[in-house]
Amino acid sequence: MLDRLRSMISGVEVDFIDIRYEIKTETGIGFAGREIKSVGSNRTDGYVIRVGKKGGFSSATVTKEEDVPRAIQLAVEGAETIISTGGKRSALADVPVVRKTVELVLEGDPRKISIDDKIELTRKYNDLMLEQPQIETTNLGYAEVGREKHYVNSEGTAVSEEILTTNISGEVIAKRGSLVQNIRVSIGGADGYNKLLNREDVFLKRAQIAGQLLDADPVKGGTYNVILSPMLAGVFTHEAFGHFSEADIIEDNPSLREKMSLGEKLGSDEITIVADSTMNNQIGYYVYDDEGVAVKPVTLMDRGVLTGRLHSRRTASAFGEPVSGHTVAEDMRFEPIVRMGTIYIKPGERSLDDLIAELGDGLYLIDGKGGQTSGENFTFGAQYGFKVKDGRLGPMIRDINIMGNLFSTLQNIEAIGNDMELSERGGCGKGQLNIKSALGAPHILVRNMVVGGA
């Protein structure tokens, strides 16, 4: 395959060209309540071409091999357009030439498990949730996505790597009268099918929480001191801070770029944030990114000081900073962009009980329900929470969304817990979906967060 790719780009008169060919396989099973709604295994493929010419940089994606010459022509035209119209000049940071094939290491290869067994496993967890009191229905699915990637560039790099993710995820819905409450559930990873086995406790707990939410009070809007659970603190880390650590997000916004200068003290002394996709056994694991660069751990913030950034070869050159191997595409339909992989807050020393006592009055908010950022502003939902009064947990609350400003929130992080959890399923949407985005944190205590209530 690599030789074929090499021949497709040979002889093109440009300064740089690369091509990525991918075969994508997907197996999906979907339940809506007790009814099975979809089952299927599919295989498809496609090509991504990137071209650098006289400082212009452009890309084109195509499905069919016969369209590859047209894609190369379009990418060349795109690069030329950028330069002829006075656009941004780009260069690629130097990286070692790599010739490597990375084998997949799995604990339990899902491709060797029959579709019937996958259906039965998903059905077992689904039925378990449906049997719980107050549960009206579920949406639960098994998803298995494989990417067999082959990458070649004009500098001589040739890398093949296969990645495979599996998860069982969805939501459980409780209903009483016209009041409907839902809770998300997810298990999975990138290291094999075994991670999906014997996880009944997760599904049981989520169904119970959904039922309990029918008796919870909607939170009242206002400003609160809060404790965020590991998954919710992880959402903050990913959504608010992490995206700002992706160089392409801030590259063309001079004022934000200045704010995010390395060496700036942006957070409280308590907080250290790391991006590390080299840790195996987690969803964000990979070896080479989609421009053939080995991924490296990066300490993004060290005790409140900005110390690192995530880069592509192009942004690394533009910023004069080290490459980090974080240029990743959703699949063969997309050119790669700067992505986080695994990001987390390093654990501190306090127990959850210590944090609740320290909070005094406020809210304990648990698990993420989607997040979104725009520049330094972020909003994310919590699945549920509890009021905290005089350092003690009070009644359950629902309908919780939090809004904040990245920079003020980083300064308002007052204490870090000693626990740590990483998500088992990714799904970051930054123009394209990244199913390998892992996030996590210990519990954290944050002062003065705006909570929008009903």
């Binding site: 498809t44 309908d399 003065n448």
Partner: protein, 436 residues
């Protein structure tokens, strides 16, 4: 397609092939200069087969092996997914308009010159960052089935999107222009964008409390998302809609009418059949506040013993590969019926309130229950009919079934929204606003 359908027909009671081919180009200008230029030529095929009351599905983007695709669909049948519906027979469809070939021929330089025109105009009026995005999208879609249906459509349009971020932030105001023919961003709309930007430059603190709130066209999806989910056949079949048993009842203010109409001659993506080949038509969900109809695909129409509504589409909340997604109930080309006040008069009538121009977190919260709690991104504060500036750290929250009972007025004009429909601004009373 025909060969694939013939192979599939031999092993099934009924079969359907859906195909799509797209040819898109885009050009981004951030902070005044071209920063990204890209192109994409994609194709895809989806196969559905029905046998003994069960459905099998398969897709590929690259149809190299028809037998393999049919074999995957046959394997999918083993999942025993029940399907009681039939693929539709041919019906008389109006002749589709033919796309303007000049859109297909738009190259990167043409996109750049139209972006540049908008940029230069804005540069004369605004100091600060200006971002302009432009592109053209050309698409061919076809559906064939064993009931004799053989339909296809072509679409082509171009767009220019202008954005003015406020200083030291990525939050800003924007305007969107799209056309079936190559065209330039109307200067009158750019003037309105500049006025909005200028009005939003001061940052203001506001108190937490209940006040008037205007959802502008680009934020209307926050409300419609919740109404759409509650009115799909899926939610009704699974008995989780808060509107269960309330069909025919007045649920919302009588000022509120919601419908979808892909056949609208003004529609940029006008179409006469959905992604299952069912003819499209004007389909009303709420009429003067009364809950009238469900949003159905073939599957849920059959399960609920209703007539198909021409609203089965291969799409997802987060995009996704069209051919990999099963057709689901979706209200495309949606419209909120216009009211009788101008946007300017609407603002003049606000004693204290917030204009919502962008939201963060519309996808969070309990959507099925109708709850929303969104960050203002940005939101403008209005006092005694005058915009005071943009709100610093604010959220708007509520439940759509409550807030849509308190509609004060609806704008008398529809605008293209970036989420795909055409909507007016809508003024609501007594909505919860949280601020620092």
């Amino acid at each position: 397609m025909k060969k694939l359908l013939d192979i599939a027909a031999k092993v099934s009671d009924q079969a359907e092939v859906f195909s799509i081919r797209s040819d898109d180009s885009s050009l981004e200008m951030r902070n005044g200069k071209p920063t990204d230029v890209s192109a994409s030529i994609q194709s895809g095929y989806a196969l559905r087969i029905l046998r003994n009351g069960r459905i099998g599905t398969a897709y590929t983007k690259n149809l190299l092996d028809r037998e393999e695709l049919v074999s995957n669909a046959m394997d999918s049948l083993k999942g025993k997914v029940e399907a009681g519906f039939s693929f539709p027979e041919p019906s008389d469809l109006p002749a589709s308009w033919l796309p303007d070939e000049s859109v297909s021929g738009m190259g990167f330089h043409d996109l750049h010159s139209r972006s540049r025109k908008a940029l230069d105009y804005l540069k004369r009026k605004v100091e600060g960052q200006i971002d302009v995005y432009s592109g053209r999208e050309v698409q061919d879609t076809a559906i064939m089935n064993t009931s004799g249906l053989d339909v296809s459509r072509k679409s082509a349009f171009m767009y220019v999107y202008t954005s003015l971020p406020f200083p030291n932030t990525e939050t800003g105001v924007h305007k969107f222009y799209q056309s079936r023919k190559p065209g330039d961003f109307p200067e009158s709309e750019l003037d309105k964008l500049v006025d909005l930007y200028t009005a939003g430059l001061p940052e203001v603190d506001i108190p937490t409390g209940r006040m008037k709130v205007v959802f502008t066209p680009d934020t209307m999806y926050t409300i419609l998302w919740r109404l759409s989910v509650a009115t799909t056949g899926k939610s009704f079949y699974n008995k989780v809609s808060p509107l269960q048993g309330k069909r025919g009842e007045r649920i919302l203010s009588e000022k509120f009418t919601l419908y979808g109409d892909p056949t609208d001659t003004e529609e940029i993506d006008q179409r006469f059949f959905d992604d299952e080949g069912v003819p499209t038509k004007k389909h009303t969900i709420f009429e003067e506040g009364v809950f009238k109809n469900l949003i159905l695909n073939l599957d849920y129409a059959d399960k609920l013993s209703e007539e198909p509504t021409g609203t089965g589409y291969r799409g997802g909340m987060w995009g996704g590969e069209t051919v990999s997604l099963a057709p689901g109930p979706s209200l495309n080309c949606s419209r909120v019926a216009p009211g009788n006040v101008s946007f300017e008069d609407m603002i003049k009538g606000i004693d204290r309130g917030v204009l919502v121009f962008g939201v963060l977190g519309a996808h969070s919260g309990n959507i099925l229950n109708g709850d929303f709690s969104v960050g203002l991104n940005p939101g403008f504060y209005v006092e005694n009919g005058v915009i005071k500036g943009r709100v610093k750290d604010g959220m708007v929250a509520g439940n759509v079934y409550d807030v849509l009972k308190n509609i004060v007025s609806i704008e008398n004009r529809l605008h293209d929204s970036t989420s795909g429909g055409k909507y007016p601004s809508i003024l609501l009373d007594d909505v919860s606003v949280a601020a620092k």
